[in-house]
Amino acid sequence: MSAKSEKRGYLYVLPAVVLVAVFSYYPFLKAFVSSFFIENQMGELTAFAGLENYKALIGNEFFIQSVKTTFLLAVIFIPVNTVLTLLGATLVRRKSRFNEVIGSVYIIPLAFSMSLFALILKQILSPTNSIINRIFHLNVVWLNDRTSALASIIILCVFLDFALDYVLLLSAFRKIERNIIEASLIDGTNEWQRYFMIELPLIVPTLVMTIFIALKDILLISAPIMLMTEGGPFRSTESVMFYYYIEAFKGHNKATENTISVITVLFSALLLAVYSLIQKRRRHA
């Protein structure tokens, strides 16, 4: 290895190293250290606080509520999202004219961005005169109670995630080699058996991936809540990251800001570690 080659190597990885140092490691370490201190409005550490900041956070009912809400959202969102995207991909997985047309509709959500769709959805779910109520003869005052407000957030997330997850699952289905399916045709299995016994198991890795991506997104959710409910009604739809945003940028509460940063980073690292382990075991199996 030559010295010249060394220099070039460093040069090529430098931008990436600088970026992770400045925007990942530095802020995390800063939040981690600060979380054990009292930090004033100017960002100076004024006194050692031990675990006081963490105790204050855990003792705050709104934080606890936001943790519960976040998990509740995940528990509802993940199955709904998985079933719907899997259904979509399953229905049109074979190539045909009809399926191509329907497939074009299924990827339309890719064209929407979050704020645009949120504006439309807010009108569709208007508390005073919702078109959904009219079509289905319902009498729901949308967004005015916790259940319907959470539902509206889930609808937003499902719609926005649908196209991407659908595309990934569809490709997984279409990558299954023809001869595997043809071999099963000879066995005389019917369509349903083929689907559940052969195709579905083959796309499980992709399915696991979409589920983990969705899980990470929903556990760090904040923007959809800002756009749909602003945490309301009655602060009942605040997620952990929404709570963080409010405390950090509206309440200037440094203690909450630092401790939540640390807790959520550690938690998502744990999640990712679990995912990596699952993938590793699958590869070795």
């Binding site: 009292i38 930090e39 004033n40 409005q41 004024t46 006081e52 204050a56 709104f62 208007s126 508390p127 005073t128 005169n129 005052v141 967004l143 005015n144 945490g231 309301g232 009604p233 009655f234 602060r235 009942s236 409010i246 940028f249 509206k250 309440g251 200037h252 509460n253 440094k254 203690a255």
Partner: protein, 425 residues
């Protein structure tokens, strides 16, 4: 390749045209940036004032930037302060900014700026009084008002309630005869400053004059019983089953005739007129008082113009905005109250009021209000706002008792004050 061309035509061409279109600035001109919170009709009126100023001034130009609701303006100001650059010269802020501005090193008080405030209406100006001086001059002054659907009130044969007791009598009649809710909404900080503050001729909600004389140490509404008194009345009103706890879309419900009344800021008046024109006769009245001793009136809210930069240009812009002429135009096109006494005394205003009687109600109510009823300046104001709402809702739905509600709210705000003290010494 054809597809790539499609992208280019669809996006890149307009993108490039507009990206290169940034304006050049003349160096002899001082630009005064105002971050404001006026949208829709209010933005139209505000832009008109800005244009008027810019046309009549060669050397100063206002650059007005909408930043969302008043609280969002505050968030942006705080974020820019943190950044150490990019602060506007003037920010339009409301009571939620009080605490931050009182301690903000970059704030220029009205006294420091040297603005002549002798013509300002006292109670409107007093709203921005702090231990450090006035944090801003009132610009868009408003107060809580009782909006009602006069057609529905007529149909039910009832008159507009003067007290909450009267409202408790009237509400079921309205509901029964017209089939729509007598009232929609759940009170929150804004309404409570009036409902609690007006009791006993004028009462504070937290010590240190609602935080205007330094950060509050504790709440007062538990000891002085004002919150309990209010909750008892409000619960009785809700128990008539003629009231609905809507938390969003209240004004739409009112405009579309789904409820007979609502509490809203006087600044919504023009919007309300626009939205109800041809649908029903709109009425506006004083906020029903909690009981006969609640004579404090209403809190003058709305917003102020806070100077974040000490210069003659800033002074000139602020003086222009509160001048009798500007205030006349501004209030007549929005529903805000004039903050300048000269505006009210002018023939033009008297003429305007004669043709638009609804616009005078808010001012009458404000002029008869005590200056003890002032905005609440406390930490975590945003969070407290929603906590009030949820606590009141839990009382109404019998999840907690009135005494528990008072205790919960007092504990929550006291805990916030304690946490603020812990972190900020």
């Amino acid at each position: 390749m054809r597809r790539l061309k499609l992208i280019a035509i669809l996006f890149l061409v307009p993108a490039l045209i507009f990206a290169s279109g940034s304006k050049e600035r003349n160096e002899d001109v001082t630009t005064v940036t105002i971050w404001h919170s006026n949208s829709g009709l209010l933005e139209d009126a505000f832009s008109h004032l800005v244009d008027q100023f810019n046309e009549s001034h060669e050397d100063i130009k206002i650059n007005a930037v909408y930043q969302g609701a008043a609280n969002d303006v505050l968030t942006s100001v705080n974020a820019a302060a943190l950044a150490g650059s990019g602060l506007p010269d003037i920010a339009q802020l409301d009571a939620t900014a009080g605490l931050d501005m009182m301690y903000a090193p970059y704030l220029v008080t009205v006294e420091e700026l040297g603005i002549d405030t002798s013509n300002l209406i006292d109670s409107a100006y007093a709203a921005y009084d702090s231990q450090r001086g006035h944090i801003g001059v009132p610009f868009n002054a408003s107060s809580l008002m009782f909006y009602y659907n006069a057609d529905l009130f007529k149909a039910a044969g009832v008159s507009v309630p003067r007290t909450l007791d009267e409202f408790i009598q009237v509400a079921p009649v309205l509901y029964e005869k017209t089939g729509v809710y007598a009232f929609s909404g759940v009170p929150t900080t804004y309404e409570l400053v009036t409902f609690l503050g007006s009791q006993n001729g004028g009462t504070f909600i937290t010590d240190n004059r609602n935080g205007h004389d330094g950060v509050s140490n504790k709440v007062l509404f538990d000891e002085n019983g004002t919150f309990k008194t209010f909750l008892e009345k409000w619960k009785a009103l809700y128990d008539t089953k003629a009231v609905n706890n809507l938390t969003s879309g209240v004004s739409n419900a009112f405009y579309s005739g789904q409820c007979a009344s609502m509490l809203a800021s006087s600044s919504s008046l023009s919007t309300a007129i626009e939205n109800t024109e041809g649908l029903f006769e709109l009425g506006i009245a004083f906020v029903p008082i909690v009981n006969e001793e609640a004579t404090g009136g209403v809190n003058i809210g709305g917003g102020c113009l806070a100077a974040l930069n000490n210069s003659n240009a800033v002074k000139e812009v602020i003086e222009f905005m509160i001048s009798p002429e500007s205030q006349a135009y501004w209030t007549e096109s929005t529903g805000y109250m004039p903050v300048n006494r000269k505006t009210i005394e002018s023939e033009e205003w008297k003429e305007f009021i004669k043709d638009n009687p609804l616009f005078s109600v808010a001012l009458e109510q404000a002029l008869s209000s005590s200056d003890k009823v002032i905005g609440l300046w406390i930490p975590s104001a945003y969070q407290v706002y929603y906590s009030f709402q949820s606590t009141i809702a839990s009382v109404l739905t019998d999840e907690i008792s009135i005494d528990e509600a008072v205790k919960n709210m007092a504990d929550m705000i006291n805990a916030n004050l304690k946490e603020y003290a812990r972190q900020n010494g």
